[in-house]
Each structure stands twice: as structure tokens, then as C-alpha cells.
């Protein structure tokens, strides 16, 4: 559980502004990917984001293409979680499978403002802030497991390794 500051955006933050298409086949290094996060929407973001910061946005976050970089760039920029009123479904899956927590909370999105300091308790399903505590449906253990492992590929690798160790013992 770590504290972070809120970056606040509106509805329909699409994958092109999250991570411009002109970079999708050009850049592979994580730290370089992070430098272009949200650059067409908020040029200040990449330069000022700090590990643990949180993005708070409106409806349909991540709509548009299925590019995984739109989630990866925020993760590599140190973003702790994205809180939105709703997520485009492919973005929701890609984010979790890449290890970026996504939280749906109407109340938190209505109340939180840029710069607010928040703390997220994933196990209890709570966002704590000076503007109040907001509850969200906790992600189930299996999904939390994916996030804790750092993404689906690592999670699956571990799971397969422990299954094979168990069958040998």
C-alpha cells in the first residue's frame, strides 16, 4: 500500500493519446515508452509523474485500439493504478494482464481532484483520501495474483512451475 498523487482526466481517454500510434513499432524499451505516456493529452505528465501516482478519469478509459503499450507505458511510468468510471474492455484486460491495477469507482471519480493524495487498499477495496474513503469491489484473489506477479506471463510461469514441482514431490 503506497500513497500517490492524483492526475485527473475526462471521458474517453483513448489509446492514441495514452500512447501514440507513431511509436508502437518504434520503441521497445520500457523507460523510453514511459516518456511518451499521455503526451498528446497532457505534456506535463511524463516529466512530473512519480512512482505511486494514480490516474483518475471518466468513462470508457482506454477506448480504441488493442495496443498493449497503452497500459504498459503507464505501468513503466510508475502509475500505481487507474481509477475510472468505466474502462474499454480490451484495455481492462490488457492492463491487468500487464500488471497495471484498474479500479472502477463512480464516487472516487466524482470526488477526487488533481493533486489529491490517495492511498489504495486493494485487499479491502478502499481508496482513502482527504475527500473521504471510497469503496470498490475488491478484485478477486486470482486477479490480484496476476497483478502481484507483475502480469499474466510471469503469473502463469510461476503457477506452472509450482504445479510441476508439486507433481514431482
Amino acid at each position: 500500500m503506497s500513497k500517490g498523487r492524483v492526475w485527473k482526466y475526462g471521458d474517453n481517454v483513448n489509446t492514441d493519446v495514452l500512447y501514440p500510434g507513431r511509436y508502437t513499432y518504434q520503441i521497445l524499451a520500457p523507460e523510453e515508452m514511459a516518456r511518451h505516456a499521455l503526451e498528446d493529452l497532457d505534456p506535463d505528465f511524463a516529466a512530473n509523474v512519480r512512482p505511486g501516482d494514480v490516474i483518475v478519469a471518466g468513462k470508457n478509459f482506454g477506448c480504441g485500439s488493442s495496443r498493449e503499450q497503452a497500459a504498459a507505458c503507464l505501468k513503466f511510468a510508475g502509475v500505481q493504478a487507474v481509477i475510472a468510471r468505466s474502462f474499454a474492455r480490451i484495455y481492462f484486460r490488457n492492463a491487468i494482464n500487464l500488471g497495471l491495477p484498474v479500479i472502477q469507482s463512480e464516487e472516487a471519480c466524482a470526488s477526487l481532484e488533481k493533486g489529491d493524495e490517495v492511498e489504495i487498499d486493494f485487499a479491502r477495496g478502499e481508496i482513502r483520501s482527504p475527500r473521504g474513503t471510497f469503496r470498490f469491489l475488491p478484485l478477486p484473489e486470482s486477479v490480484i495474483g496476476i497483478l502481484q506477479a507483475g502480469g499474466l506471463l510471469e503469473y502463469t510461469k510461476k503457477k506452472l512451475a509450482s504445479a510441476s514441482a508439486a507433481s514431482k514431490s
Binding site: 498493449e68 494482464n97 478484485l139 486470482s142
Partner: protein, 417 residues
């Protein structure tokens, strides 16, 4: 409160009662992939296991670039064939099969009550037969191969009640475009869409496949029809295994309900460059065109080809227009060959291509040059999708596509009925 079809199917798989919003882990009945299996194999190899967990559940259909158009695609196909042999994957369909979304229903994989995931965004098509079917990413397809498990969020359901009958010259494509035009491309984001109402049972399985396919363009996770007598009859002799059909309870919780009267529809077009930029054909009539595509997983079935042939019989396509006809599968191809439909289309001047995705995704077989306009029966008209970024795609029904092919400009098909 009762359960929706989706809640019932996912609940049975999860082994407990589930409700919309919950995230569950299930073992799918089938996992589909196509030419992108080459990329999925690369991810699978990073997992450190030698064998896929359940080879009999993996279905691979080569359809996107068939036959291979260059060395890179040829190498991809080769690596897929080698992987299939090495892993003992029984359900492999090579280039003489057709588009995956037609092959899976025809070959009896898409069955009522099943859970099917696929690394293709139009996987929801199988809801036409009462399955839960949804698109997933490549990384998770690789992981599902290794674990035989996938996590899914149980979606809320939007119901679309259909009444009335299609006027002559109109079909399921016009209806799907009208719905998307009215409510936008995100109307069903993360939701299930149930097509219901008194007219649903009148729709052919082909029309249901078109609507379930287009639910992906509504943003839906899955789109479906309750499996009824018509669906079960269609499945006779096709179903590979026993299945348990489920339908939504009468008191199931639907998030919203929309009503559409088929009788009141006009022919629709999705204009460049988004699927929700929809106009009645009348507003665009007369625009000169260069190419027509009749085919794809949306509208390449026998009834679609028959409708085009009805309009083109004893006529010629306009001399300025190229018309590409691509049956959705080799089963459709052979039937259209036997019935004489392909002869009518060829006599009219159409180019009949082999079954597959063709130029829909802009990889081969009829790419557009700068400034060219195409009327296509496919499902996406994003900028540059079928070729040059300055080309234009109008999405339409097979009838509108055929009428436009004859006139060399966007045309209303009702004058041919």
C-alpha cells in the same frame, strides 16, 4: 432475480452462482486462434512449458492471409503447422477451410452453452448459436494454451428487442448498422448483448451470425441469440459433442432494453472512417465507387451471395468497378458452386476469390489505392484499413453492395426487389 444466459453459462463453468460484475476463472471449451498463432507460439515458448495443457481444445484456422502472399506469411504458416504436429493439436484447419468465424459454427465447435475464447475481436459471432464467445489478447491466448484457464468478468446484459419483418432488399447488416449509428461504437462496452423479441426467432442462422459478429462493433464482450428450434435444427449433423442449451430467465436482470422495428428500416451505410458514422443509403446515393467486396465473416454466407446474385442476374457490373466475391468458407464456396450462384456472379463480371479474410484487413487480394472508394460487406471501415490512408470504405449489406456494383456508384437496393 433470474439469470441471464451469460450468467448461467459462466456460472456453470465456474461451478457456482455468478452475477454481473464478478470476476471468475474458467476452463474454456475451445480456444481459437488463426494466422496470429505464429505470434502466440512465441509467447507460449516464454512460459517454460513444453506441452499445451489441452490440445483438443485448441482450434487453429488459417484464414487471414491464405494462401501465403509472401515469405514472412509463409514462414508463419509453416511454424504453425509444425507446432500443430509437435503438440498433437487435432483441430487444425489449413488454407482450404475458410474464415474461422464461419468454420467454427459449420464444424460444430460453436454450440449452445459453450465458452469459447478467441484471439480475434470478432469471436462473439458464435453467440448466434447460444454460446458465450469473446475476443481476448495474444498473451492471454498463450497462457490459456498452457493452463487451460482464463479469467473473465461476468458482463451486464443489454437486450435488443426486435419486432416486425425486414422490407424487401434489407437484411441483418442494415439493422446492425442502424443500431450502431443510433447508439455509438461504445454502446455495449464490456456488456453482453442479447438479441431478442418476436422477430429474433424469424431470423436465419446466417442473419444471427451477422448480428453477433457486429456486436463486436458495439463494443460488446459477447452478443447472442437464445438457442431455439431453428438453431438446434441447423446444428443437426454438425455438433461435435453433446451440449446443454441455456436461455435467460424471464425475470433476468437486463441493464437496459432497446426496441427496433425491422419493418421501419431503410438501407444503411457506415461512412468513412468509423463504424458508427451511419447514414441511410439515400443520403450518399450516387457517389462513384471503384471496388466492391462481397464476403468476410460478417456477410460471406450463402444467403449473402444469393442476394448479390439475385440483383446481378442477367446484368453486368459497371465497367469502372472491380467486384471481389469471397465465400466465407469452402463449404459455402462448394454450395454456391453447385447452386449456380457463383456462375451468376462470374457472368456478371465478379472476381471470385478463395475463401478467407481477403482484403478486409488490408493485407492482400484487392488493396485500395489513394482516392479509391470501396463498398464492403465487412465490419470495419477505419482509415487505411483496406489500403492507402486516403482511400474510403463504406460498409453495407450484400444487396446494397451488389446494387452499387451494377451502377458504379452507391445505390439503393430496393429498386431491384
Amino acid at each position: 432475480m433470474g439469470k441471464t444466459l451469460t450468467e448461467k453459462i459462466l456460472g456453470r463453468k465456474a461451478g457456482k452462482g455468478v452475477q454481473a460484475g464478478e470476476v471468475i476463472t474458467v476452463s474454456p471449451d475451445y480456444v481459437l486462434s488463426h494466422d496470429n498463432s505464429a505470434a502466440i507460439i512465441q509467447e507460449f515458448k516464454k512460459l517454460g512449458v513444453k506441452k499445451v495443457r489441452a490440445p483438443e481444445k485448441i482450434v487453429i484456422v488459417l484464414d487471414h492471409i491464405v494462401p501465403a502472399s509472401d515469405e514472412k506469411y509463409a514462414q508463419n504458416h509453416k511454424s504453425i503447422r509444425e507446432f500443430v504436429a509437435e503438440q498433437g493439436i487435432p483441430n487444425f484447419f489449413d488454407i482450404n477451410s475458410g474464415i474461422c468465424h464461419q468454420v467454427l459454427p459449420e464444424q460444430g465447435f460453436a454450440l449452445p452453452g459453450m465458452v469459447i475464447v478467441g484471439s480475434d475481436s470478432h469471436t462473439p459471432s458464435y453467440g448466434a448459436l447460444g454460446a458465450f464467445a469473446t475476443g481476448i489478447g495474444r498473451t492471454e491466448t498463450a497462457c490459456t494454451w498452457a493452463t487451460d484457464e482464463i479469467w473473465l468478468r461476468v458482463p451486464e446484459t443489454m437486450r435488443i428487442d426486435l419486432a416486425g419483418r425486414f422490407p424487401a432488399g434489407l437484411s441483418a447488416k442494415d439493422l446492425s448498422l442502424k443500431i450502431i449509428g443510433d447508439h455509438g461504437a461504445e454502446m455495449a462496452n464490456y456488456k453482453a448483448v442479447e438479441f431478442a423479441g418476436p422477430a429474433a426467432k424469424d431470423l436465419s442462422v446466417g442473419a444471427r451470425l451477422t448480428l453477433a459478429n457486429m456486436s463486436a462493433e458495439m463494443g460488446a464482450k459477447n452478443g447472442y441469440f437464445a438457442p431455439d428450434e431453428k438453431a438446434l435444427t441447423w446444428l443437426e449433423g454438425r455438433a461435435r459433442e453433446p451440449f446443454q442449451a441455456v436461455v435467460s430467465d424471464p425475470d433476468a436482470g437486463f441493464e437496459s432494453i432497446l426496441d427496433y422495428d425491422l419493418s421501419a428500416l431503410e438501407p444503411q451505410l457506415a461512412c468513412p472512417h468509423t463504424v458508427d458514422n451511419v447514414k441511410p443509403v439515400g443520403e450518399v446515393e450516387g457517389k462513384p465507387i471503384h471496388q466492391v467486396l462481397i464476403g468476410t465473416c460478417t456477410n460471406g454466407r450463402l444467403e449473402d451471395l444469393d442476394e448479390a446474385a439475385r440483383i446481378m442476374r442477367d446484368r453486368k457490373i459497371h465497367p469502372r468497378v472491380r467486384v471481389l466475391v469471397i465465400p466465407a468458407s469452402w463449404e459455402v464456396y462448394r454450395e454456391a458452386l453447385k447452386s449456380g450462384t457463383l456462375a451468376v456472379l462470374a457472368d456478371a463480371g465478379c472476381v471470385i476469390l478463395n475463401s478467407g479474410c481477403g482484403p478486409c484487413l488490408g493485407a492482400h487480394e484487392g488493396i485500395l489505392a489513394a482516392g479509391e472508394v470501396c463498398v464492403s460487406t465487412s465490419n470495419r471501415n477505419f482509415q487505411g484499413r483496406m489500403g492507402h490512408r486516403d482511400s474510403e470504405i463504406y460498409l453495407a449489406s450484400p444487396a446494397t453492395a451488389a446494387a452499387s456494383a451494377v451502377e458504379g456508384k452507391i445505390a439503393d437496393p430496393r429498386k431491384y426487389s
